[in-house]
Symmetry: none
């Protein structure tokens, strides 16, 4: 983010697989983590990790607090509700198209259960 407030929304924040992994990491540990601990899990520089965390912060998906010389990041899943709410619209669509969905489910099911 060079200058302006680039304002990332939750859709953009979640579009990147590295950021999704960071969210699941924070969810799994179920506690706050400093950047160095987070960076251990990714093959990128700590600066790059910091940028991703900044994007997640702007989307409201993580928060941070300073503890000594550390900055600890914590999961804030609430904005995911926006995603959830958006998907709800298509949940209804699936409901209406249940027959087609059912066909898809059965077809895929037979591929792995058989045998």
């Amino acid at each position: 983010m060079p200058v302006a407030e680039a304002r990332y929304d939750v859709f953009q924040a979640v579009a990147d697989s590295t950021r999704r992994s960071m969210l699941t990491l924070l969810a799994e540990t179920d506690t706050e983590l400093p950047i160095s601990r987070i960076a251990e899990h990714f093959p990128i520089s700590r600066t790059a990790v910091n940028k991703h965390l900044h994007v997640l912060t702007e989307a409201g998906l993580v928060s941070n607090r300073k503890v000594g010389r550390e900055t600890r990041y914590k999961l804030r899943p609430d904005p995911l509700r926006d995603l959830q709410r958006w998907l709800t619209y298509f949940d209804r669509y699936w409901d209406n198209k249940l027959i087609a969905l059912k066909a898809f489910v059965e077809e895929d099911d037979s591929e792995r259960v058989e045998g």
Copy 2:
């Protein structure tokens, strides 16, 4: 089969607000639409609309068929279930008074995945 080897995955496809609008447009009309009809709703060129539809196609979120000189696009919401499934991981981190329809989809989903 939802999204095999696509350049764009569902998360990326949905990250753009224009593409999200296209999906809701197709869902609202609940029918197939040619590009020109879709382009009417957006302040960008038809070429740009075509590119967005191409991204959505690669993500498996729309399909198309040629009818005369038209190419009609139709919503394929199934890949959104990948998004849905990812979100369910974070369900336990917010108040779990979840949407009933989501619970229904999740229940249906348990028929074909690990469960």
